[in-house]
Amino acid sequence: MLELKNLCKAFPIRNAFGRKTGALQAVDNVSMTIAPGDIYGLAGESGSGKSTIARMIMGLETPDSGEILIDGRSIHDRSDGVAHGRRVQMVFQNPGSSLNPRRTVGQSVAVPLDAHGFPRSKRPARVATLLDMVQLPAAFAERYPHELSGGQKQRVAIARALAVEPKLLVLDEPTSALDVSVQAKVMDLLTDLGRQMGLTYLFISHDLSLMRNFAREVSVLYRGGIVESGTSDTVFGHPSHDYTRLLIASVPVISAEEAALRPVIPLIDGELPTPEQLIALRQAADRQA
């Protein structure tokens, strides 16, 4: 379905005068393959390059090198005349800013219909169907975003992304701006929709417990590079990379079973070590062994 091959992207670092003084490697040689119908998780802390990968897949950012293939074709290959936006869509992190405050919900949901030549006369019915799909009343079409709760806004964003029936949906931290109780409902909705419509998901999050429940395959990103990937159970149950262990250790636990799954991490001055410290510790231990 989706294949990333050796994707790289660096951003220039500029000083106060706008002169380029260096480069920040935001995405470093990332490869992954997502099978059709899969729910693929991409985990990593803030700044690890998750959104940059999502933006490159959407064509909002151009990779420095590497390839992005959807169904075996490069995303820049438009020779079959199918617009990129019909194959893949994205749900943004913050539903507060991904909906235009001056346009009604109905107008926002109709944007992709408009763009892809959906017959004008059938639009209101289609908008109603889409809202129904995300469990919102059809009357919401007349509302403005400020009249909606965060969870409702994110449902609207999901309806909009699904309007032209893409097969692949990129979810960039779709619930991180929402309350925990609302999070679960939105994730349930996504699971149901995925099953009904046969969607493939690329699910991006730094919330590991959410990812463990939702994703089947997982890659862990650290400073732009993938440090570990595999099935969700393997990666979270038997993490092989220290960074993954550190990530898991920093998740607040609820049950004793979960606590038992946690790897033991040495504390430095009573605090969790940084990834660099952790890797140094591990190397020191290896040298001694």
């Binding site: 235009n100 926002s108 919401f140």
Partner: protein, 295 residues
């Protein structure tokens, strides 16, 4: 607000309109400004029906009634050839408003479109549009109009052209700044990934976010354009006699101060009145929309 979720769509739309109206009616500045503007526009439109001596608009001479002070027959008195100043003031208002509407009717759309293009596309488009804007902004409209009037002939069309040729720059600046800020927001990127056309993004996504700022700025500008137009006429470079113009009337009346004060003071107050109305309306709208960008 959330309780209304089950109301039918028409009712919701009405309730939105009602809320806006309610907020407007509680804002005294906006209400007074709007009232003054409406009175001026109605007076200008209905001038032939509400003025006592519509024939005094032309080159009528009535020397027996010259320099009459305000009275029940001549509410604002008469001028040096015996024409009714009230009649001529109302007709002058007509010219002033026409001037404002023609200038802003061209300057606002041009300025808005250029601002949207420069702000959204950036790069060369931005560089070219904004450099031209900077140059034009450096020229005061009054000076530009004086120059044009001096080179060509001093008449209404030339002054209009001169003012309109500079006025769009203010709107370009404003819309450019707003667009720059809006284009980085996620809903614009969302529209791009959804496949929306550039036209859609500029006019359906960004423009609606500029409307309140445009309304405030245009309203404030109406007052300024009227003042500039009156200044031009006062200097003899605008509307030529015998067409009644407030600026020209103030200039002519000034020659008979202080004895026949009404000949310049009353048309002057009329200028003040209409300019004040537009300014109050603009300020009121700014409070209402909570727009920060404008001036």
């Amino acid at each position: 607000m959330t309780q209304m979720s089950l109301a039918p769509p028409e009712a919701r739309r009405l309730s939105n309109a009602y809320q806006n109206w309610y907020r407007f009616s509680r804002n005294p500045t906006a209400v007074i400004g709007a009232a003054i503007v409406v009175v001026c526009i109605l007076a200008a439109l209905l001038a032939p029906f509400i003025t006592p001596y519509p024939e005094h608009v032309g080159a009528v001479v009535n020397f027996r009634a010259r320099h009459q002070p305000p009275s029940l027959t001549f509410w604002f008195g008469t001028d040096n050839v015996g024409r009714d100043i009230f009649t001529r003031t109302i007709y002058g208002m007509r010219i002033s408003l026409l001037l404002a509407f023609v200038v802003l009717g061209t300057a606002v759309p041009i300025g808005t479109i250029l601002g949207l293009l420069a702000g959204y596309f950036g790069g060369w488009t931005e560089a070219i549009i904004m450099r031209i804007t900077d140059i034009a902004l450096a020229l005061p409209p009054l000076v530009m109009a004086l120059a044009v009037a001096a080179v060509l002939s001093p008449d209404l069309v030339n002054s209009l052209l001169a003012i309109a040729a500079l006025w769009w720059t203010w709107h370009t600046r404003l819309i450019y700044a707003i667009t720059k800020q809006i284009r980085t927001q996620e809903f614009i990127e969302a529209a791009e990934t959804l496949g929306a056309s550039k036209f859609h993004i500029l006019f359906r996504e960004i423009l609606p976010n500029c409307v309140s700022a445009i309304a405030v700025k245009t309203s404030l500008d109406c007052g300024f354009v009227i003042l500039v137009g009156a200044s031009l006429s006062f200097l003899g470079l605008g509307i030529q006699p015998p067409t009644p113009d407030l600026g020209t009337m103030v200039a002519q009346g000034a020659g008979f101060l202080p004895d026949f004060w009404w000949e310049s003071v009353l048309p002057g107050l009329a200028i003040l009145f209409v300019a004040l109305g537009f300014n109050l309306l603009g300020d009121g709208l700014r409070d209402l929309f909570d727009v920060q960008e404008v001036r």
